[in-house]
Subunit: 214 residues, 2 copies
């Protein structure tokens, strides 16, 4: 499959692009926001496309040209305000989902956040972010797309271990971004996780095994 990575220049995005470019089965296409980010993907020999999530769904649909799947791993990040959370994490996701529907790009993976369906666990400071993620996930689930919603715990930059715990509802726990990217790779054409939502943290199970148990 050719896979559009939305948020390819983010930390999970870069790991995933790397994994896909090394894979025999898949080819990444990096959707990025800034011209200065192109050279990094050129150096990997990875195709990139310059498209803003603040643009229209039609522009995002153009970026999806030739792709069979989409991974949404973009986020406005902690340094910006809730205004960008609304524009990127919620509306950017909604427009990407619409673009996938328009172009018939049926397979859609969403990087969400642990506890995004459990309002009682949202701390006051993080609640606005969770509102955006929760409703973006709901929009995806209500779409006609073949979705998988992956909800990692606390993201770290530790090296990946290849071992996770995955179920519908987890307590909190850390997980390296590298392992999240591995999970996404393993989800792409795994029919067992089609139309499922689940949470992941570091654990004892090999990724394939953990996904098959869902």
């Amino acid at each position: 499959m050719k896979v559009l990575i939305v948020g390819a220049n983010g930390q999970i995005g870069r790991h995933l692009v790397q994994l896909l470019s090394e894979s025999q089965e898949h080819t990444p296409k990096a959707m990025i926001r800034l011209e200065e980010q192109i050279s990094y993907f050129n150096s990997l020999g990875v195709e990139s496309v310059l498209t803003s999530l603040e643009g229209s769904a039609d522009e995002i649909a153009d970026a999806m040209e030739g792709c069979d799947a989409v991974v949404f791993t973009a986020g406005s990040g902690g340094a910006t305000g809730a205004d960008k959370t609304l524009l990127i994490d919620l509306d950017g996701a909604a427009k990407t989902i619409k673009a996938a529907e328009q172009t018939g790009t049926e397979r859609f993976l969403m990087v969400s956040a642990i506890h995004a369906d459990r309002r009682e666990m949202w701390g006051e400071d993080i609640a606005p972010y969770y509102v955006a993620k929760h409703h973006a996930d709901n929009i995806l689930r209500a779409s006609g797309l073949v979705y998988t919603i992956v909800r990692p715990g606390l993201l770290t930059n530790d090296p990946g271990t290849g071992r996770i715990r995955a179920t519908e509802n987890l307590d909190s726990g850390p997980i390296p971004r590298e392992d999240v990217a591995q999970v996404l790779l393993h989800c792409l054409d795994n029919e067992h996780v089609f139309n499922k939502t689940f949470e992941i943290i570091s654990g004892d199970d090999e990724i394939e095994e953990a996904l098959d148990r869902l």
Copy 2:
């Protein structure tokens, strides 16, 4: 009908409570956030209930007890940041919709904003607000409730004229809050506007007539 007004202490909310308390057919129940707001509604002889939109859907469902309809006219307002826009205008609305579904309160009127479905008309500063309103409206339309989404133009405190223009897509224009409240009153049991979304500004048509033409 007994009608729960969510955001009863807001400017449109107060007009609507007044109209409903004078009406022969309907009775208002004012949902408010602060204890100090109770006395105003007591002085009108109007029942009120103290419930925060930042609470749970179950708490909002309790407030809905005994009601046949809901009017959502709450908003975090321009003085707060986009974090409250996410929590109130989007998630507060989503929880109120869920509460109406839970309690079988089928009739649901939403006060939205002109151009909320037309991203190309969202100015940069107002865009985050529009994202919240747009997606709250979509959640309502996807629910099983009998909705009417009313999208006024620029709200003013001028006295109402009782005359409006109403269609699916309008250019901009002002409308007194008093007229918006009158429109809401006329929508409540008007089957012609069930499951419709439309925009209103001041105009030449009497309200009943304008609604019947939709």
